[in-house]
């Protein structure tokens, strides 16, 4: 058998034009130049998406950012910002013997006294699913009550809305912990200690919402928003554009991901989303109360709302004091962009992916998990 992995690799690389190292170097140079043109440093920008941080870490992009540019990961991990009482609701339902179907990362997120994984160890029926449709399949296969503990931003909320509108089996209900990104950008922009001068918005969410969803934000806060994709060149080009807008003091929304995102987005998906969900205020773990940041089922869907179908007595969990370690966790500051994972004294010590203390170390989109996975210290600067 002969094989030529070198040649196969070259072919694979040429197909990946959004990972072209030569063009990447051009963008890195352009980025350094734009930052230098600002004539002051550092300039801080924020992305609000775990997938952006994944790509930045995986490809080592942070080592190419100019010293004067601070790229902060904001509250872009849906698992991380699911609040403790929301996890508790899932745990309480699970301990009543109800089947809980949820996405994998949610299982290990600590609640007040236990995670869903802890409940499972005590005999609760927890099912890891990969799509909303699987929750429907699961419910059809049993006569027991099943609750779909639905988490994620508007991207996954749309999938939940679609199955709800398709009609649920009578034994399936929804515990919505879905979140909506645009309002939290307002919170970050209004934080008195914020350093953020511009936002890199997530391309996949904008595919649904359209880039226009950020226009009111820009008008109110005079901060630029650039919609970017997830390949290395997408991110670099997005940052170049963002720094240009900061330099020129021309805050506006720029769509740098036009191969997927339009100004209006996916109207049909938006219709489904808002037909099923209404925005309501609520806490995001570690961040703040976010007005309109939570997506809850509309009254028309009360019959399939797990919060109305079952009594959920959260107080039953409160006789356990939260673990002492949790008090030192700085996930909130990390998600607000005020601290980096390496500023946390638990990082890589008491808190690891195997034994997470905070939610940021649980999710594959959490800043701490990503930094840990890619070596614990992503900023190599010019040393290497």
């Amino acid at each position: 058998m002969t094989h030529v992995p070198g040649a196969e690799r070259d072919q694979a690389v040429s197909e990946l034009k959004f990972r072209d190292p030569v063009r990447a170097r051009g963008l890195v140079d352009a980025l350094a130049q734009r930052v230098a043109e600002l004539g002051r440093s550092p300039v801080s920008v924020m992305h609000v998406c775990g997938s952006h941080e994944q790509a930045i870490a995986k490809f080592g992009l942070r080592s190419t950012f100019p010293r004067g540019l601070n790229v902060i990961m904001g509250p872009g991990c849906p698992v991380c910002i699911t609040d403790t009482p929301e996890v508790d609701e899932g745990v309480v339902l699970a301990r009543q013997g109800i089947h809980i179907a949820t996405y994998g990362d949610m299982v290990r997120v600590p609640g007040t006294s236990m995670s869903l994984a802890d409940a499972q160890a005590e005999g609760a029926k927890i099912h890891v699913i990969y799509s909303a449709a699987q929750a429907v399949e699961l419910a059809r296969a049993t006569t027991d009550e099943v609750v779909f503990f639905a988490t994620g931003f508007e991207t996954t909320a749309v999938a939940t809305a679609a199955v709800v509108l398709g009609g649920l089996p009578p034994n399936l209900s929804i515990l919505s912990a879905h979140k909506y990104i645009p309002p939290v950008m307002e919170i970050v922009a209004e934080m008195p200690q914020t350093k953020v001068e511009g936002f890199l918005a997530a391309g996949h969410a904008a595919t649904i919402t359209g880039s226009a969803v950020f226009e009111p934000f820009v008008a109110r806060h005079h901060l630029p928003v650039v919609v970017a994709g997830f390949e290395p060149l997408d991110i670099l080009a997005g940052l170049v554009k963002l720094v240009e807008l900061i330099r020129d003091r021309t805050p506006q929304v720029v769509n740098m991901f036009p191969r997927c995102v339009t100004r209006d987005g996916n109207r049909r998906a938006q219709d489904q989303l808002w037909k099923v969900f209404r925005p309501t205020g609520g806490r995001w773990r570690g961040i703040a109360h976010v007005p309109n940041g939570n997506l809850r089922l509309r009254d028309e869907f009360a019959a399939i709302d797990a919060r109305r179908r079952f009594p959920i007595d959260l107080a039953s969990l409160w006789d356990h004091a939260p673990a002492a370690l949790v008090q030192s966790c700085i996930c909130g500051d990390i998600m607000a962009g005020l601290s980096a994972p390496t500023d946390c004294k638990l990082f890589g010590q008491e808190c690891t992916p195997e034994k997470p203390v905070g939610a940021c170390m649980v999710s594959s989109e959490g800043a701490c998990k990503i930094w840990h996975q890619y070596g614990g210290h992503p900023d190599l600067g010019g040393e290497a």
Binding site: H3, G6, F59, G60, T352, E354, E383
Partner: protein, 345 residues
């Protein structure tokens, strides 16, 4: 830098993963009270692939390995081929490429099929033939049903050599060669376990590579300064260990690392870095820069070394760390900590 020196009260799977946790366990529990190696040579404290004891002007190299792979038959091999290859390769990684003799102990679960055992022994004989080795003694035990899952093999090997190659001899400027494509063994096992249906077959690379290593040593001589087989924990774990023991940093050029396209596809699908996936027929060879091309050409002429490549170099900075140059930027390569998959070799 992530360091965890503590050993938990209960032995979790990560202690068998060949990484930092396992080394901490050996240090705290297995080494404690043994004292220094009694003779001139390489002992347990070095945590190398095997031990070396000076006998006259020769070195006696000795190693042992237990094998618990699940499933015991997998695409490209089985537990028998793995047991022979693992031990022969550990000897070779010390520079001892002519095994004098192997031992093979077998522990079976009550009810294990005789036909399956016979099949395993066919593989053992084939692998011995490829390595030019033979089994001279063994041991057989049967345990009650449920006390063991199927079959466990333990092999030990001895060999003589003139020069021992440790895994700690790297200096800044040295180059690192991998003898072929990486990730084949781990992804073959994973595909079977996860029932992945992928285009193109994923086959384990399990093979005795002592003869391949012999050609490298013949070409490189004393310029070959460190060797390690990237088994559990993959290339990443092996490079971390070499960097730490040698007191250098290692810079890996990601684009030069040979990976088969079907392995890369499976890794992408599962979100796994091929650099942390196990290999059972590959070696990492540290070589002085001026001899690297000669060693590389010699390797590529051998049927098991056609995809050999220079993948990295040793640097003065970042001692004990491995840096990955992705072509787009640079980042630290993390040392895998938990088990990617339990019972893989």
């Amino acid at each position: 830098m992530i360091r965890r020196g503590l050993v938990d009260d209960k032995i979790g799977l990560k202690y068998g993963a060949g990484g930092r946790a396992m080394r901490a366990l050996i240090e705290r529990v297995c080494l404690a009270g043994l004292g220094p190696a009694p003779v001139d040579g390489i002992g347990l404290a070095a945590m190398d692939d095997g031990a070396a004891i000076r006998i006259g002007d020769k070195w006696l190299v000795i190693t042992t390995d237990s094998h618990v792979v699940h499933p015991i038959v997998f695409p490209g091999g089985d537990i028998g081929r793995l047991a022979v290859s693992g031990t022969v390769n550990d000897l070779a990684m010390m520079g001892a490429t002519d095994p004098l003799a192997l031992t093979c102990a077998v522990i079976m679960e009550e009810g294990f099929a005789r036909a399956d055992l016979e099949r395993v022994y066919v593989s053992i004989r084939e692998a011995c033939q490829e390595a030019g080795a033979t089994i001279v003694t063994g041991d057989t035990k049967v345990m009650g049903r449920g006390e063991l899952d199927g079959l466990v093999l333990n092999t030990a090997g001895v060999a003589l050599c003139d020069r021992v190659v440790p895994d700690s001899g790297l200096k800044p400027g040295d180059l690192l060669i991998v003898t072929g494509t990486i990730g084949d063994h781990g992804m073959a096992i994973m595909a079977v376990r996860h029932k992945l249906e992928l285009e193109g077959d994923l086959r384990s690379d399990v093979a005795p590579i002592n003869r391949l290593v012999r050609t490298a040593i013949a070409a490189g001589g004393v310029s070959i300064v460190a060797m390690k087989d990237p088994t559990r924990g993959g290339v990443s774990s092996a490079l971390h260990e070499m960097a730490e023991k040698s007191g250098v940093g290692i810079m890996v050029d990601e684009a030069s690392v040979p990976v088969r396209s079907q392995v890369r596809a499976a890794c992408d699908l599962l979100g796994i870095d091929p650099l942390v996936v196990a290999n059972e027929g590959k070696a990492l060879i540290g070589v002085r820069a001026d001899a690297a091309q000669d060693v590389l050409s010699a390797l590529r002429k051998h049927p098991l070394g056609t995809d050999a490549a220079i993948i990295g170099r040793c640097i003065e900075q970042h001692v004990g760390s491995v840096i990955l140059d992705t072509g787009l930027g640079k980042r630290m390569l993390a040392e895998p900590e938990g088990e990617l998959l339990p019972r893989i070799c």
